[in-house]
Structure formats: C-alpha cells, structure tokens
C-alpha cells in the first residue's frame, strides 16, 4: 500500500518525512531565476524540462532567514493546487515504507516547526517529523491560502 510510503529527507539538520503521494520527483535544479517583490522563501523559477517550477526554500520558510543556495540544490517536485513547485531540501535519504506507521508527536516541538509538523514517522529507529509540502507554499501569515 502506498499510504505508508514516505520520502525521508532533512532540512537544516532536522529529519523530516513527506508522504510519497505528495511527491512527483526529486531533482537537482539548474539555474534559478530570482523573482522580485515576493517573500524571501520564494527563491525563483527553475525549468524542469518544459515545465517551470516555483522554487520554495523550506528552510527559509520555517526559520525566516535564507541560506545561500547550494551549487545544484536538491528539490522535491510537487504539484500543489495545479501549480508545480520545487521545494528545496538539504538531503534526501530514501523513499520507503514506515512499518510502524504514523505516530503522534511526543515531546514539545519548537515554535519554528510547530506549524508544520503534524506527526512522527519512524525509520531505522529514528523519528522524522511528518510535514505536508502544501503547508510551505501558503503565505507565511496563513491568511491567504494558496488556491
């Protein structure tokens, strides 16, 4: 069954899990064309073959400050509300099933991660925060939902 299949990755050293059903591909991006007058976490546009991705810096979205981009940054490609996004992640370790399924959060999540983490997923004895990519493409105030 696919609903227990997750992508395991990390952002700023924090292990995360994303439902595989949300993901279309993981790619290394080429040139990113910056966009003016948008929030910092919207890093720009990148071409993926004939498609144009809006590149979102998840780290900047969570912590409010952006890091210089890597040479060919790693991005998770996802279709959210009819638009294609590339969400930058630090590393990607694997796509596999989590045998123990989705667990409730234990302990207190810090204020940066709290709006995004909904549960825990365990892999190889290590807990990953379960996040939904759609949460990263809404505007930070949360007022205007990405339609």
């Amino acid at each position: 069954m696919t609903h227990n299949l997750f992508l395991f990755a990390s952002i700023a050293g924090t292990p995360i899990a994303v439902r595989a059903s949300e993901i279309e591909a993981v790619v290394r991006l080429g040139d990113i064309v910056p966009i003016q007058r948008v929030p910092d976490h919207v890093r720009g546009l990148a071409a993926l073959r004939s498609r144009v991705l809006t590149v979102i810096d998840i780290e900047s979205r969570i912590f409010g400050h952006s890091m210089p981009l890597a040479e060919r940054p790693l991005a998770v490609v996802s279709d959210i509300a009819a638009h294609t996004y590339g969400l930058l992640v630090e590393t990607v370790s694997d796509i596999c099933e989590a045998s123990s399924g989705i667990q409730p959060i234990q302990g207190r999540i810090d204020r940066y991660w709290a709006p995004f983490a909904s549960a825990l997923v365990e892999r190889d004895g290590r807990s990953h925060l379960l996040v939904s990519l759609a949460d990263f493409v809404t505007t930070p105030s949360g007022a205007a939902k990405a339609a």
């Binding site: 003016q36 990148a46 071409a47 638009h83 990405a146």
Partner: protein, 800 residues
Amino acid sequence: MDEILAEFIAETLETLEVLSGEVVAWEADPADSSRLDAFFRFFHTVKGSCGFLNLPRFERLAHAAEDVLAAIRRGERSADPATVTAVLAVMDRIGELARNVGDGEAPSIPEAADDALLDALTDLPAPPAKAEAAPPQTTEAAEVEPDPLGGADANPSARGRERAPRTIRLPLALIDQLMNGISDMVLARNDLSRKMRDREADPELESSFERLSANVADLRDMISKTRMQRVDRLYAAIPRMVRDLSRDLGRKVTLELDGGDVEMDREMIEMVVDPLTHIVRNSLDHGIEPPAKRIADGKPEAGLLRIVARQSGNQIVIEIADDGRGINRTALVDKAVSNGLLNAAEAASLTDDQKLQLIFHPGLSTAAEVTAVSGRGVGMDVVRANIEQIGGVIGIESVTGTGTTIIMRVPLTLTIIPGLIVRSGGHYFAMPRGNVIELLHQNSSMVTIEEVGGARIATIRGEPYSLIDIEDVLGLTRGAMRGPRTLMVVRSSIGQPYVLGVEQVESNEELVIRPASPLVTAAGVFAGMTLPDNGQPMLLLDAAGIAQSASLPLRETKRGPLAGTAGQGAQRDETVQALVFAERDGIRRLIPLAIVDRVEDVVPSQVAISNGQAFVRIEGRLFPALNAGTGVDEPVKSLRLHAGRDALCYLISDVLDIIDVPSKLDVTLNAGRVAGLVMVDTDQLEMVDPFVLFAEAARQTGEAGRTIHCLIADADDAWLSGILAPLLSQAGHQVTIGAPGEGKPDVILCSGAAIPADAGDVPVLTLSDNADTASDSTVYRYDRERIIAKIAELAARRAA
C-alpha cells in the same frame, strides 16, 4: 465500476447540455418528431444505464418522462408548454443528481421532492382529440429511409447528429501532458540546433534536422488544436436561458445562433460564458420590449436576438444583436451626472459614442427599476473588465428604437501570445505585445522627460504620460548602461496609458504562457510565466499591476468615458488617407487627406500677389496662397487646406490619387515643407508637413491677411453703405460708416463724387461707376474680385 459510473455521469451531463437547445426548438414545433426522438433516446439511455448501475432514483424519473414522451409519440398526448416544462424539470433534476453523484456528494434534493415533478408530468390535461392522427406517421418517418420529398425536412438534422465526426473522450490532463511533451521536444530541438551551430556544417545532417524541425512544429500546431473547441459549446446553454427568461419576463423572442462551428480555445470559451450570459440577459430585460409595446411600435411581436461568432485573424468576434428599444442615452447621461461622474457642461459636450460608452461605467444602469434578471448596477463594467482581462475588446452600437449590437473581440487563445522580451538590471521579462502601443528610445527627439516634485513625466509628441522605470517597480539595481534606454508606451485595462522605461527590448517571440503560482502573482506585477525557446524561465509583466503598484494616477478621471473609445481606436490598423498630387513643378507629393477641405480650379486672375505675398480670391474671400511663385499664368488647381480657424490655398498642378499610408512615416525628415518619406509601391513620396504650411500662411496673414479696417466716408452713399459694406463684412473686414471710429482705418472707400480731404496717409480707393476709368486708385464698382484684391493690396502696402 467507478469508471463506468463516471462515464455515465459525464455522458448524461453532456447530452443534457446538447438537449437543452433542442428542447426549445421542440416546444416551438411539437410535431417535429426527430427532436422528440432525441429526448426519448436520452431518457431511455438513462433509464437503461441506471438499472445497470443501481441508481433507482434516476431510473424512476427517466421512466416517468419516457412514458410521457412515448404517449406523445403515440399521439395520446400533445406537447403543450406545460408538458414541455414538466419534461424539462425532470431533465434538470437528473442533471442535478448527476452532478451530485459526479462530485461524490449526497443528493442535494430529498427524494420525496421528485414526486411533485412526477405529478406534474402525469397530471396533465387530456390531450386534444385531434392529436391522434398526425404524430405516429411522422414518428415512422424518422425510422424509415426519408423519401426525397416529405421526410427530407426533419430527418437530415437527426441523421446529421448521428453522423457527427467520430470522437473519443480524453481526460484533459492527458492533453496537457501531451502539450508538455511537445514543449520538451521543442526545447530538445533548440538545444540540438545550438550544438549543431557549434560544429562544422554538415548539409546532410542539416537537412535531416530541418525535416525534424518541421515535424515538431507541425505537431505543436496540432496539439494546440486539441485545445480548441467549437463555439457551439458556448451556445449550448443559450436557447434554454432565452426560453426561461423570456417566459419570466413576458417577452417573445426569436433566437438566432450562427457561427457555432468556429473554434476557440477551451479556456477562452470558459472566460466568455459569463459576459455572454450577461449581455443576453440585458438584451432580453432592457432591449427587447414586451410584445404589446412592440406591436404598438409597429415591430414584429417577437423580438430578434442574434448571436454570431466568426474568426477574424487571430481574434474571435462575437456579436450579440437585438432589435429592441436601443440604449437610452439621455438616461445614461442623467445617471452619470447625478452620480457625479460628469458635470452638466461635460455631459453636454459628449459625442453620441461617448455617451454610449458610459454604459461600461461602474454603477450606471439604465434600468428604471431593478429586476431579478439585471439592472443591479453591476453589469456592463464587469463584462468589460472580464473581456479586457483576457485581452479582448468590447464595443457597442445602438440605435434608439431599432436595437443594440454588442461586439466582443477576444483573442483565439489565452496561452500563446506574442510578447516582447525586455532586459533590465540583468533580468529578463516578457511583456504582452498587445499591451505595448509604441517603443521609443529615450533620446528620441519626440520625447522630453521632466521631473516635477518627484513625479516623472515623459511627453511624447505633446502628449504627457506618467513615466516609471521597471527597476524602481521591481526593486532591481540598474545595470551599466550601454546606449539609450527604451521607453514602452503601455496600455493597461485600467485607466490611461503610461510609459515604462526598460534597459532594452531584446526580441519579439511567440510565448506559451502558463499561470504563475499564487505566491508569485501575490507580488501584483506578474501576470504569468513562460519558458521561451532558450529554456530560461521568465515572468510575464502585468501592465495593470505595475501601474497600480507604482500608484500611478490611473483612476479614470475626466477622460474616463473616452478611455474605451481610445482603446478601440488603437486596435485598428494605424493608417491615414493621403492625397497624391503633382506639384506645379511636376514632383509627386503626399498630403494628409484629413486637412484638405476642397480641391478648386483657380484661374490666373484669382491670384493676386501683393508685396511678395500671394493670395487667392475665392467666393469673395482671400486666402493666403502657397506655391504661387512669381504669379500664375495658367489655370491651376488649389487644395484648400483647413485647420480650425485657419485656411490656406496650396496651389498644385493636379490631383492624382487618394491612398492609405501608415500614420507613421517611414522616414522622418522634418526638412522644410517635407515631413518625411512614405513608401508607396515602388517609389517613396514626400509627405508635405501641414504644420509648416500653416506656419508659413500664418506669417503671411499676420502681415497682410489680417482684418482690414475699411472706412466708408460718405454715410449718405446708399450704394457704399448698403451694398459694398455687407460684402466687405462678409469677406471678414471691419467696416465703419461715416466718422472713423477708434483707430485709423486701413483703407478709405469712396465713390467718385466725394474724395475725403482728411485722408492723410490712409490710402483711398475710389469706386467708379464707369468701367473705363479704372486706375491705380480707382476701381469699377461692380468688379467685385478687383475691389477685394485692391483693398488687400492697399492695406498690405500701408502695413509695409
């Protein structure tokens, strides 16, 4: 199972859409069995499928309707309006339930409500006895081969439907994927082409590559066509709407739909549905009069609503015409005045077209009372905004008492538009070419740029525009400049055009536009994104958004009512008519036709040269003449040029032709009387600069052609005061009779009898009643031309 259900729902909804037009036609002609068959088939199919899919509610409804239709077929019932309404209600219910199922929702209407519908179907008055004979036969006719005479009328349409082009259903997502695949292919081709350019030329490889390129281009065109749909789809809902509305409003309407086979982009059709619906509602509610009124006005009882679609270049033109009462200009203007949009003086100076354009203003509706259908004051302004949003134009023509025609012009497709690629601060952006009126270099002589209290104004050919630089709007750093910046005169859907300064306009490309994500559009200055052939993503600038974010004064102010007209004018091809003529020395030149008032024959005696300035006498008036040279000794032609108060005669040898020329000169010269060169077929002709001509003429009239003050010394001379004075006044001179008033006269006129002694240095012209006594200071009193010329000559001599 799910798949079968989804297919059933989709098919049911689609058939319903097609049938809604048919049902109205059926009502109009209940005996038309081919239509009845279509409905019968529909209900029959629904009934059959429902049993199979276990949808008992659908089955019950369809079954009841089928029974009724079967009864009509057998002639046991007649297709009266009540029956048709009941059958329609059942169709609507089935449609609604199907949508519920399609959306995976619980039915929005309780099942018990179906009983009322079924009762309406069955509790109907007894059929008229007569209905028994005819229908069964016609029913038969649809099933047997049509005989060449009788059945030919009804059957071709029924058969036409069955023989419609073979089609299959495809999910839209698949077509989009296909489109993306083709785009990938184009990019790969471009990449390959770049790599090939870096290598040594290989003709064989190149010819193969050319063939591949051509195939890819064809494929791309074909895939674009899969996005196209027939306008029929746009029309599908209209007959039903017109029927329902005209019933609610008590109107009688004949609907004509034409051009349903024209194709336009699927998305575009969706964008046009709402505006079209609105216009049709307006026509029925405000345009077409109630039947009694129409009869009283001598019109046919049923109004005519005609909707025509046609393709014109890369635009689709949709015309909605009614023969109703037309738009009440007075009511519109009154409303505009009472809303404070215009003051009374402005209102009085509006042209008829400008008055009509008021209908596109927010909050102006001519409906005296608000009805459920329209007249709530949200109307044509929203329609116009919607049409302009998709790059279209809307126009209106209306004749009071005769009808209104609304013309929508929309681009064929939303997704591929011609665009200009601009560069600024190291970034590239695309601007839809439709938004750009003109491109100029900043250092062009036609442009002056000034800064007043922080506001920058670019004045182009005397017209001031707000000037903004794209770097300021987007917060970019300016790149090091090489050469002059480029100014784009940009038109947006809101308000006045403005000038956008960019570093450089790089190229002109057909761009495939995709919607940008909400995060990007939230910036307010981007309308979409595109991937040009170089593979670098690019943002499409939003002309209106840029104006708004720069807080330009764009709110439609006093020029508001005119803005719509201006926009339309600019859509037309920019050509002007020009007159081709031969100068007196034989050279062919052009002059704008608009300023030529008349072409006249001039004989040498009409031309007078006084003090080096030439004048032509025409109908008792003197006009400054150009090109008279040292005089005219043979008949010539004169172009009488007119511009407001000023008029002049331009003497030429002959008029040759009238042609259309671009309003922009091919080469601008600004050398003397020549404004520039225009290419006409194989030659280039000089365009005469009217400005220079009038300036020259103004110098002449300033010296000699000004008002001449004539004094008629002898007030008692009945001929002078009664006959000559009116003639002189008519020629534009000031005439004083008796004592000189204020200031000295330029000429004193007298009859031969009494030459005033106190003339001093004022020239005296004596009018003699003897034709033989003419001399330098004496003129025969009935030689009108000579009198006028002599007065001008004397006054000019005195002024000099």
